[in-house]
């Protein structure tokens, strides 16, 4: 746009679990704020209390007479002090903010390394599209035998390490659904699976208790305003604003308060946000750029789900 196109309009940062991402920097700035504030307020208070009329000899003061420019008063050394010291402080603060700039805007991850989610903001909704499928597997706590599920276009395959249990699998895939038994530790079902639709499968034991669930989010749109992303991976949100009905597309801003970041979503310009969640949980999405009538209610949720490949315990990985 203005200068070079080498850097895309982006923002992001790594979130470390249990930490407010902007806290360190906030504390650094807070520290200097308090220092400067204290200097000014103590000085002000002292001057106001100490130098009141009747407490000083007024004959030493410059006379003010209507129509006469009074005797000037200045002091080279003093004034140099409050030019030089604030300049040093400003330089230091610049340096402090410099580092965060590269975290924030410097190195957007490539599409290959990141988990890419396309965000479409409309008035007043969030919609998400995955470019790679997201698989969430969850086994009940204390399950004594591992279960493995794999899905491809023509087959659903379930295997366990034990032959002693009798399990039931219930699956849905778009409008299709079905059910089958796993009796000898292995079951293969040959059926057409639409890989562009969401696929989910739950396995229950003989008592009907759920022991395992498998959800595969495919390249599909979720317009419920909710999105699932894997833990301990760099998530890259590429964001666009779209029009709805007769209205024009307008500017929104994706604000993820828990991760301390936001970036505007501008019609006709793809912007992005990237982050690296390190804790499972549900987080807020808020629109932070005024976008019309129901702007205040344009909110949603991001759910970070377990990532078995992660080494982090907070991400559901085995440590």
């Amino acid at each position: 746009m203005f200068m070079s196109d080498s850097l895309p309009p982006a923002g992001g940062r790594v979130m470390v679990s249990g930490e407010i991402p902007w806290e360190t920097q906030y504390n650094q700035f807070m520290f200097w704020s308090i220092v400067v504030g204290l200097i000014v307020f103590v000085w002000l208070l002292y001057a106001v209390l100490r130098f009141r009329r009747g407490m000083v000899d007024e004959s030493n003061l410059e006379k003010l007479e209507p129509g006469t420019f009074p005797k000037e008063r200045d002091n080279l050394r003093l004034e140099a002090v409050w030019v030089v010291i604030p300049s040093i402080l400003v330089a230091w603060l610049c340096l402090l903010s410099w580092t965060s700039m590269y975290d924030a805007w410097g190195n957007p991850p490539s599409d290959e390394e990141a988990f890419v989610v396309e965000v479409t903001a409309t008035q007043w909704n969030w919609a998400y599209t995955y470019t790679e499928p997201l698989v969430i597997e969850e086994a009940t706590d204390g399950l004594s035998y591992p279960i493995h599920v794999s899905v491809s276009e023509g087959t659903i395959l379930v295997s366990t390490s034990t032959v002693d249990v009798n399990l039931t699998a219930i699956w849905t895939n778009g409008p299709a659904n079905g059910q089958f038994n796993i009796s000898s530790g292995l079951a293969t079902l040959n059926t057409v699976v639409d890989m562009h639709e969401m696929f989910s499968l739950t396995i229950t034991d003989e008592e009907g208790l759920q022991v395992y669930s498998y959800v595969r989010y495919a390249a599909q749109t979720s317009s419920s305003g909710e999105v699932y992303v894997p833990c301990d991976r760099t998530i890259k949100m590429t964001m666009n604003s779209e029009r709805l009905d007769e209205a024009d597309a307008v500017i929104h801003s994706m604000f993820l308060p828990e991760w301390g970041m936001k970036e505007d979503i501008v019609p006709n310009l793809e912007t992005m946000l990237y982050f690296h969640p390190e804790e499972i949980g549900t987080y807020d999405v808020i629109c932070a750029e005024y976008c019309g009538m129901r702007h205040a209610y344009m909110t949603g949720k991001i759910t970070v789900v377990a990532n078995p490949n992660s080494d982090l315990e907070s991400c559901g990985g085995g440590a």
Binding site: Y26, M55, P70, E79, D103, P257, A288, Y290
Partner: protein
Amino acid sequence: MRRKPILLLAIIAIALIVTPQFQASPGGIGSTSDDSGCFCHTEDSGTEVSISGLPDTFNASAIYNLTITISNSDIAGATENANMGGFRLLIEGGTLDFDQTLVQVVEGGLTHTELGNDYRSWEVSWTAPADDTKVAEFILWGNAVNGDANGATGNSGDGYNGATFQVAGLNAGAIEETVDAQRAMVVLMSTVLLVLTLMGLAAMYVFYSQNPEGFNMGNFWEWLKGWLTTTDHKGVGLLYLNFGLLFFLVGGLLALLFRIQLATPMNDFLTEKEYNSFFTLHGTTMVFLAAMPLISGFANYIVPLQIGAQDLAFPRVNALAFWMLPGAAILLFAGIFSGQTGDITWVMYPPYSTSSGGGDMSANPGTTLFVAGIVMLGASSTLSGVNFITTILTMRAHGVTWMKMPLFSWSIFVSMFMLFLSLPALIIGVLMMFLDRTIGSVFFATNVGDPILYQHLFWFFGHPEVYVVVLPAFGVISEVLATSARRSIFGYKSMVYAMAGLGVVAFIVWGHHMLTSGMDPQLRFIMMGATMLVAIPTGIKVFNWLATLWGGALVFKTHTLWALGFILTFTLGGISGMFFPVAGLDMYFHDTYFVVAHFHYVFVGGVVFGLYAAFYYWYPKWTGRKMNEKLGMLHFLISFISYNAAFWPMHNLGIMGMPRRTHSYTIESGYGELNSSITIWVFIFGLSQLIMVWNLIYSRKHGEVAGPDPWGGWSLEWSTTSPPPTPSFAEIPIQKDANTEAHRDGTFMRGVKKLWMIGEKKEAKE
């Protein structure tokens, strides 16, 4: 008396009230703002329109077959399949399905096609809304035509009529009686007339109270005419001040209204559209109709007196600049009476602000007038800019050299210069927006134009603008503190350089408002660094004020208190401003309540407190009487405490993540407690302003009589009588100088010379 212009204005006003606003729509349907259609024909109560097949209550998503029928026994249609009638149907709730050969959608409503013109009844099928707690509404207009549009009588002889039908959902409550909305223009004009009448009565009372015995209408008219036609800088200045104060109260009232809305979670005191337009009007009013006119008012009254000029360079241009403001105010507020004023925030970002035709998704129709109002404000400010720059450049009295000019005049000079340089960017941006809205140009259109271009244009103006309003406050504080400490200001020359420095730096930092806007990140880097620089000249000013107090003999008058309060709150506002240029922090704080807290600390705690100090300080100059000190102290105490109690917690809300410009918030968010307490304190703050208003009125007659120089100030305005004569000096005064050296270098020059001398000494040694 100039009867002609007045007559003309009256005719225009009446014409605006009575003429229908005609808009052409595609498909040849005429429509007024309320979409009644068919203005090419005449209204006729003999025409009956009906919809059969409507249920008493609808079931969610059920399908109903409807027949639209119009009838008029007096108007026979043409024979042989030629034109017989037409209709227009607007629905709220549900969707329609129909035979496309006979019926079509035009501009969001249903109407007949060319072929469909040959009937007087049409069939459509209606799918009821999925939500059966709603009430669906059908607005139908039908026109019985005689089919001789090309014949002798043209379109006359046709008759149209309309009706509204409502169908409640199965689970809807009772249908509320809706009151027919008045035509917007009627409401607007009536309100303007009402306001004018009230203002006329108020003026009459003011005149009456000055001399109850000598009152008669003739005198009053002469007196009023004097005010309406004055070009004297003092008269125009007082007009500006009254105008600014009035709109300060209006803007405050709007703030109180939307603070009620925010007091509790999920409140519905205001609708979303109301909330959005109220905070838009609040921001725009406070900045453009309150702060700027108040500053212009002081500048008008005081600057010519301070520099020893008899008037401004262009007195008539000055009056013109003022009289554009009421016009602009009417445009800005035009939509509010019909609930359709601009809801585009004070920064007016397109594409939302250029959007139209999308119903609730688009900006209110009043936005067009709102934007026109901004253009008018820009014109007014440009004129003032030219005027003040010229005046200060050319009309300083003997002795008032650049480096001997009072700091308030300096602040006005720098501020007007900045305004003059930055305004073109705003006007261009806003005009392009106006064209996008009206003639369909595509400067900011989302498929070809660039909405971010507008943001650059706006903030290239917007950031200097915040200095335009705060520099005069700096000027006031410099005057007030020096006078109150009974000595000269510390570091006069560095004060001047600091202001000029701010004036330059302020032009290269606009991007800090756009750090998350999708702007090129390299540009973000530059804006970040430049922004931090602003702290240096600002720091110089604060420390110089503190050094002025040091060793002085401070007298506590009301204006002194405001000035001391200013140092406190402005410093806080300045400090919180340092958090925004930091990438890592701005990504979080941008557009949260932290921003709202910050800019109210500099706007209210800076600009408004500075202006309050100015009111108490210069009031004796224009009335000859001091304001009541007791009331003044009370005003200061209540305002200062309630102000901090109200606005400080907004920082906390920002840290908690509450976004700004939100109509409401959930209970779980936990914002409720702070917001309720803010609202209570804001009401106390708002009410305490009435103390000052009362003080201004009361002291005009009952204040302590003040001589020419009640506070012991030095600048030229204190050497003339209070109030000053017209023209303001009988004879151009000469400013004397207490400094004995013919020319004394300032700190800056001495610093440069010192450095220079180090070089020379070195050379000499070698």
